[in-house]
């Protein structure tokens, strides 16, 4: 435990080092998270569009069938 605390303290430079690494982690979280979320959003958008198109096509079929029957 003591050796871990000593390592974490970095001989008195711990606050500088960990602040720098925390900011770096924030930047990388934005990069990785933003990339994955953007991808997820666009796939969701594409899925919505495909469902809308399928619905529209089904409605078109129904209308055509109704007009043929009448």
């Amino acid at each position: 435990m003591d050796s871990l605390m000593n390592w974490f303290a970095m001989n008195g430079y711990g606050s500088y080092i960990w602040t720098a690494y925390a900011l770096w982690a924030l930047g990388f979280a934005w990069l990785i998270g933003g990339t994955l979320l953007g991808r997820k959003r666009v796939w969701a958008q594409l899925g919505d569009q495909q469902r809308r198109n399928a619905l529209k096509a089904a409605q078109g079929d129904n209308e055509q069938r109704n007009s043929e029957q009448s």
């Binding site: 080092i17 770096w24 934005w30 666009v42």
Partner: protein, 251 residues
Amino acid sequence: MASRFWTWLHKKGSPPVFYDMADRWAPWLGWLSLIAIAVGLFGGLVLAPTDYQQGDSYRIIYIHVPSAWMSMFVYMFMASMAAVGIVWRLKIADAMALTAAPIGAMFTAVALTSGAIWGKPTWGTYWVWDARLTSELILLFLYLGYIALYNAIEDERTAARAAGILALVGVVNIPIIHFSVEWWHSLHQGPIEINLTEKSSLQPSMLWPLLTTMAGFQMLFFWALLRRTQTLVLTKEIAAKWVKRLMESKA
């Protein structure tokens, strides 16, 4: 010969071909980058010895140096893509330049902040208007200017052209950043001389984690670039037949 090259270039730059290629490469790049960064940081923070002059504060270089290197590399990549977009009107090149800009801005911001934090215990101050620091700050403004200009113009082709010209003009800043420590009396230390065959200016036990982290940052950039460009291409080509086919194959 030349016409075959253009045909090849336009074929490789077509959105569906690019999308397939990115899908093949991105998973490898993503996982390898995470492994390299984890190994490099473990080596730098745990295994590398304490520096006899700077103590443990030097361990910030394991994020500072790769970020600073990437800030310049990404800018050159972005400017090259912008040039290809302007000269050969390749849409994928414009998309890649636009995608690279925020990633490059992030690397520059990390380089500036980590450098400032390292400066406090080493120089006694977070910031000085030194040639290296100032030119790196200008690089951040160039990235932000590129993004702002691209988004300010409605017509996509004009936006890509105008922002591309700004990116190309800004290339002049890259040698200034690199050579600033040699051209002017700078507070910033000189470049780390990396030599794989002869003696480097950094101990091998300190050098290998740095090189590993640099490789990891490089691969992470290409992973993010490919994935973000894929997203951008899908958004722009949402009504295209190949996107419909892609959706059907993924369903």
